[in-house]
Amino acid sequence: MAAAAAPWNHVWVGTDTGILKGVNLQRKQAANFTASGQPRREEAVSALCWGADGETQILVGCADGTVKHFSTEEGRFQGQRQCPGGEGTFRGLAQVDGTLITCVDSGILRVWPDQDKEASSDPLLELRVGPGVCRMRQDPARPHIVATGGKENALKVWDLQGSEEPLFRAKNVRNDWLDLRVPIWDQDIQFLPESQKLVTCTGYHQVRVYDPASPQRRPVLEATYGEYPLTAMTLTPEGNSVIVGNTHGQLAEIDLRQGRLLGCLKGLAGSVRGLQCHPSKPLLASCGLDRILRIHRIRNPRGLEHKDEPQEPQEPSKVPSEDTETDELWASLEAAAKRKLPDWEQTQGTLQARQRKKKRPGSTSS
């Protein structure tokens, strides 16, 4: 079942007990994959990212300092490697040209060589980013550029092929109206497409946009939402807004052109740990400490599309991007929902007529 189901999993979720779950939304099933066959809390998933070669491999960063490779086609863990050094969990994983980039909580960023070529486990490059890192993110357009940020650790953009100094080091905003220093706590970073800009969300409920291309090192735009720390952020497919989630389970969409709140999404009861938008469709997957994976519709109308309660009591930690090769399945998911809006996504047109007649499958949970 694992081998057949693996390519059809739409959403991949990592949990606090070390299980990687692939969720098939069409059949409403979740499949569990563990490296060692038993769930272990030492292997709690702290970072997930796609491997090389499109979206066939997932790199799973665990709490004990290992990075495991998981193949989605075969549905099993293929190998793992130790990435020691530094204290704390992984805060970011990325892959470029066969090398692996890891960043841990204590601020040590390492680039590891390809496992097949060299037997030694020395890192190719090591950078000290500063303690208290909360996130390291790779620019999808320029894979050699990474950004890091954390608690009392300002946003820095590094070029791994360049010098040891960061390309861009953000400056803190001015003192507030009481002339007190505003504390820094960057919880999540995203690179905006088609520009050099970055967006961060902070633990002090601010959303900031930085532009390295401009001479201004301070944030270009700042917006606030709510009263609780923002823990996760994702970009919407159009690229003009971001969706942020906070520790109370409130999700909000914020427009980056004006810094305005566009709307909120309801449903989550616990702290939001992972958010991911579909690359082209207006769907958002969210997971949090309340152990439920939810798929939301962002536009027309805003609401909850699907809720998966796989009965597994784990805390999903991240949701990577969904399979784009399974576009047809996404289209059927939309059509099967009880909405009367026309399907304005131009996916395989021949399949649409057939899919409209498809009934919503009965929900089964593994």
Partner: protein, 391 residues
């Protein structure tokens, strides 16, 4: 008209007024004859203009009269319909359709998907390795610190003292205006396992914060219906030093499990059956009722209970991962007042759409039933001397 004859032939007591009323009605009816829906005037229903309701009559006595008449008529019709249905059922005999099932709260329940399956391995693993695992593995024994919000009044102080007698190995300390975040590291260094803070508002306790100490979850409850010992009727003597047994009812969902384990870890793991004392946390529709009883088995089937100790009702407001940090902490569950939280979160079910107050009246009865089914198997463990001893 047949109608006039009908009415006037009726009871003479209300005759005049009735007649006047019906005459009025008939006059109106005559005028509106053309506009009535059916050509034949139904003898029972008054031929009032359409759209007329009894409430539009301004005269109170006449209105009352019309209403009582209408009610009697309705009752008669209902009875007639019932009789007819019964006759039909008897006539059909075996072929009669099955009786329709009446709607009850039980029937209207929304099935909750987060109810934990007892065979679920992942839940079992999660519980085996969570923050309470050391308690359930008998590695640590609880030591509780009870305190209040700053400057408590008499009721809260007395509640704390009574809770101290109910929960073994607990200590009450005066708050002295200290911040919880400063108290917690000190508690950890003194090996406390749990912290209970009773919040007070306007001289009555109204909130409870329960924090499991080394790094454990913090639950924030709203507390209501607090009854101290002297306010409980027909109560027994004060509780003894024996470690009580615990009953946790209806904590079926995943969230319910976490909260249930939190409560269980407050009490030592080895109940002393000699003491015959039991603390109950009964969850019904997301309200948790706390009771403390002493039981005695009069025979194998009959048990008598005496309520001791304080009683109160709790409702969970939030469950936070980590020790108390309301601002920057991460919440596992927050009570949200919105349409999505229609079903019961901790266990049991909630009727969707309607808000029904939880019933507390039948608690003793419910408790007795529970006692019987749970304790009857422990009869063998209790020695005879303790069984029949009088307190």
């Amino acid at each position: 008209m047949a109608k006039a004859g009908d009415k006037s032939g009726g009871s003479g007591k209300k005759g005049l007024k009735r007649k006047a009323a019906t005459e009025e009605a008939q006059e109106a009816a005559v005028g509106e004859d053309g506009t009535t829906e059916s050509g034949v005037q139904p003898p029972k229903t008054a031929a009032f203009p359409p759209g007329f309701s009894i409430s539009e009559i301004k005269n109170k006595q006449r209105r009352h009269l019309m209403f009582t008449r209408w009610k009697q008529q309705q009752r008669k019709e209902k009875l007639a319909a019932k009789k007819k249905l019964k006759k039909e059922r008897e006539a059909l005999g075996d072929k009669a359709p099955p009786k329709p099932v009446p709607k009850t709260i039980d029937n209207q329940r929304v099935y909750d998907e987060t109810i934990v399956d007892p065979n679920d391995e992942e839940v079992a693993y999660d519980e085996a390795t969570d923050e309470f695992a050391s308690y359930f593995n008998r590695q640590t024994s609880p030591k509780i610190l009870i305190t209040t919000s700053d400057r408590p009044h008499g009721r809260t102080v007395r509640l704390c003292e009574q809770l101290c007698t109910v929960i073994p190995n607990s200590h009450v300390y005066y708050r002295r205006g200290l911040a919880l975040k400063k108290i917690i590291p000190q508690c950890i260094s003194r090996d406390f396992t749990d912290l209970i803070v009773i919040n007070e508002d306007r001289k009555i306790p109204n909130g409870l914060i329960l924090s499991h100490l080394p790094s454990g979850p913090t639950a924030h409850f709203k507390m209501s219906s607090v009854r101290l010992r002297k306010e409980i009727k027909r109560r027994g003597k004060d509780p003894t030093e024996h470690i009580p047994e615990i009953i946790l009812n209806n904590f079926t969902t995943r969230l319910g499990h976490s909260i249930g384990r939190m409560f269980a870890s407050l009490f030592p793991h080895n109940p002393q059956f000699i003491g015959r004392q039991v603390a109950t946390f009964h969850n019904q529709r997301d309200y948790i009722f706390f009771r403390f009883h002493r039981y005695i088995f009069k025979s194998e089937k009959k048990v008598g209970i005496q309520e001791l100790g304080p009683r109160f009702t709790l409702k969970l407001r939030s469950l936070q991962k980590g020790t108390f940090d309301s601002k920057y902490g991460e919440y596992e569950w927050v009570h949200k007042v919105c349409a999505y939280s229609m079903k019961s979160q901790l266990g049991n079910f909630k009727k969707d759409g309607m808000r029904i107050k939880p019933c507390t009246l039948s608690f003793e009865y419910l408790y007795l039933k529970l006692c019987l089914c749970i304790y009857s198997h422990e009869l063998k463990l209790i020695s005879d001397t303790a069984f029949w001893s009088r307190d």
